[in-house]
Symmetry: C2
Subunit: 334 residues, 2 copies
């Protein structure tokens, strides 16, 4: 089945506030080549476009053995699915920037623009733990908590590009305020910032119990982080373990809500908090199984994300490649 | 555009624990004829199949001016999307009953089987308030709370037929126990049974404040219901209004979680609780707007369901009709 279509490539771009990751990706998801460049967002969107165009031209387009048919970009922000305009990207300080149009004009290739976490989700679906699964949900917990949805093999983008914002589902009506303005969001329990805040409050309230945490933070309460909570728990510290337990329980509550609402076959979890807190997935899975409906649990598996930092470039590239080929059913609808 | 396809009909069946509603539905969603029959579930699934077959044959198949191309049935239970087997239907006392196979054999027509709330959702989407909208979510609050999801014009069934169980999303980690075994589910705030329970507790705790509610219940605490809470609130009773306020707030919290997670263009709410509690939608919308992300709110409208009791038969019939015609893109996927 190695046709000319199978031999085509796409460039995947993962545009974050500090760095731009790019990769040349084959139709099977293999990465042929990778680059990393600083974003230098302060110099404005034109500069970012120039940087991306220059990387793509210099490193990928010159290689005629690998024909590039499309470029996919994942942006840390809200992307309009129809127009490819970045509505807002706080880390880049962008509002209503027509990145698709600009890249298309400069590169002469079809451009797909996704939200960054949606791109990661698509990568995990097509090439990571989700291969062959048509209904899955990803949830990533780092400083913030985001996610993505694939239904019947299709990435769900949402009517304003915002689908998958699981971090801002309330699981405690009068819970702590979230950065988003809501209260008791999953992120206020599971986000890295929230774990750090909770750790600081506990250490303050009970300095004896918090001694190990404070020591790991170099005696500086402000330096306490989710990663340090994870280290303390790994060393057997009681408060550290308690904080991991609370975080995992809240994560499981959220996953049960998602499982009941969407009934996926697979839940993929990843991100710095998931990697950094020992036993978090096991605690979350226990709570998930305690809370979700039997009918939702029956087909469900919970796994760790498989692609790590490459998921974004792979997902953006494959999404763009399939869009350019018109292989995604959504492009073929009446 | 009036082709022979446009002139074809389907039968929609809404199979509940006490009654079977059937209708002859045109391709545009118009109901040509309706019937209602008791389910007599106690007599077993064979009897229910016989009843449906007899109604369809007697009332609809004989009319040759209206060619029937398919039968769609919505069942109050969990339906396997692939096989059309009813996995479990507590109100009917069914487990693993192959209703699609049985009806197909008896009627010789293509049969589609949906969960009843998914059928209602599809009806609201294709013929009710959701006409022309491709991304929408329905939430129905009666005794229980259920819902359905349409993404890109397609009904989301879930990998085991269970998508849309919004009633069992936790919004309060250590909230009250739900009938499902979880805690703090949306249903424990918004379900009719939960509103009645809450009202009873309040009346018990403060008989003076509860005097009006108790009077409306004929002096019988056990007779207190969500409908009576609605009547009391409509008459200006303070406790009644407080209970409506709490219910609407919780509904808004849940709708905000759904809006953030799925980013639909339209939220349709309906059901006995929504109809019976005055001002409930307004309170819920206020809370939704307070809590949901700006990006999720921007494209979003919240409306009341439009079709009432006919939504189920219309939705089942149109779903079956489109499946039989192969017009739904999912049937045409590679």
């Amino acid at each position: 089945m190695a046709s000319s279509a199978e031999a085509s490539f796409a460039v995947g771009v993962d545009l974050g506030g500090t760095k731009i990751e790019t990769a040349l990706v084959a139709a099977n998801g293999d990465i042929a080549e990778k680059q990393r460049t600083p974003t230098e967002a302060k110099q404005g969107p034109d500069h970012v476009v120039e940087t991306i165009v220059s990387v793509v031209k210099t490193h990928y387009l010159r290689d005629t053995r690998r024909p590039i048919v499309a470029v996919g970009i994942g942006v840390a922000g809200q992307v309009d699915p129809e127009s490819g305009v970045v509505r807002q990207a706080p880390n880049l300080d962008w509002r209503d920037f027509p990145i698709r149009e600009r890249l298309q004009a400069a590169l002469g290739l079809p451009i797909s623009v996704l939200n960054d976490v949606q791109a990661i989700t698509y990568g995990e679906c097509r090439r990571g733990g989700g291969q062959g699964v048509k209904d899955l949900v990803c949830l990533f917990a780092g400083t913030g908590v985001g996610g993505g949805i694939v239904i019947d093999g299709e990435l769900v983008r949402g009517s304003s590009g915002n689908a998958g914002e699981f971090g801002h589902m309330t699981i405690e009506i009068e819970g702590l305020p979230c950065t988003c303005g809501n209260r008791g969001c999953i992120e206020t329990f599971v986000g890295g910032w929230a774990i750090a805040e909770r750790a600081r409050r506990r250490v303050n309230a009970d300095p004896a119990a918090g001694a190990a945490l404070l020591r790991l933070a170099g005696g500086n309460l402000e330096a306490l982080s989710a990663a340090i909570v994870g280290q303390a728990a790994a060393q057997g510290d009681a408060l550290g373990k308690e904080l991991v337990e609370e975080t995992g329980t809240a994560l499981g509550v959220g996953l049960a809500a998602i499982a009941n609402a969407l009934n996926p076959k697979l839940l993929i979890v990843g991100g710095g908090v998931v990697e950094g807190l020992p036993g978090l997935i096991e605690i979350a899975e226990r709570e998930l199984r305690r809370r979700a409906l039997a009918a939702a649990l029956q087909p469900l598996r919970l796994v760790r994300s498989a692609l790590g930092a490459d998921a974004g470039v792979i997902g953006s590239a494959l999404f763009a490649l399939e869009a350019a080929r018109g292989r995604r059913p959504q492009s073929a609808k009446p």
